[in-house]
């Protein structure tokens, strides 16, 4: 699932080498956190969140095939924890 999200996001941004996707697998839900270069955040979210919502739907469809649940979070710089 990480590979899917990484592939799509990298094709959308100006700085693909700045993309980080962190996968945390819980008992019920897998969480994918996507970090981009600050200037690329808008490209991953899209107008009115269109891109981000499509990305979530596609990830959900892929996860559902394996009877799993997934959450995709796009982390903006302000939310990045210190350190």
């Amino acid at each position: 699932m990480k590979e899917l999200v990484e592939y799509i996001v990298k094709a959308l941004v100006d700085n693909p080498d700045k993309i980080e996707v962190k996968e945390t697998a819980g008992d019920y839900v897998t969480i994918l956190e996507v970090r981009t270069a600050p200037e690329d955040v808008g490209k991953v979210i899209g107008r009115e969140g269109r891109i981000a919502n499509s990305l979530r739907s596609i990830a959900k469809a892929a996860a559902a095939k394996q009877n799993k649940k997934i959450t995709v979070e796009i982390i903006t710089d302000e939310e990045r924890p210190a350190g």
Binding site: L4, I8, P16, D17, R50, I51, S57, I58
Partner: protein, 205 residues
Amino acid sequence: MKVTKMKGKSVDEATKSAVEVLGGKVEDAKVRVITEGKPGMLGMIGGEQAEVEVTLKEGRAEDGRHLLQEVLDKMSFMTMVEASLDGERVNLKVKGEDMGRIIGKEGATLKCLETLVGTMLGRLYGERIRVSIDADGYKEKRSKALERLAKDAAQEVVESGKEKVLPPMSAADRRIIHMALQDEAGLTTYSKGEGKDRRLVIAPK
């Protein structure tokens, strides 16, 4: 599209050899500079090589096919994608297993794939590209059904002389009906309402 990374004395040289390796033309290459490189003393000594990642475009239909196929492969769906060009629009057709999941509720997942692949392709070409994705003939069947609905409703309007308001529909669905009825004599179509409640109206002229 084909992608490779290449090093060279300069960005230009690295790009040229990457294009050569991929077997294409420089004008079809999208270049991302990884390191600019620095010229060294006496040729390369002390210098740093430039590195680039070159994506070679192979035409929007083929590149669209490639992007969608990669996405579906990474979703672990066994599929085959075919591509064609319809004027400016890239048409992609998916065949394979588990089509219901790829289509989604009322085609919602197909629409999401369209948004993503369209944007990815648009980024590669630096312009807006319209992409239409169909799976297992879903859209074709749906558009036939909508055309039938439109003709029946049009018949009703002709007979009654009164306008008819259809249920709320997406822009794509309304477009199909506008097109289906554009040549009907004595009728006109327009839409009213906003957002999710926007409905198409068939009215006598």
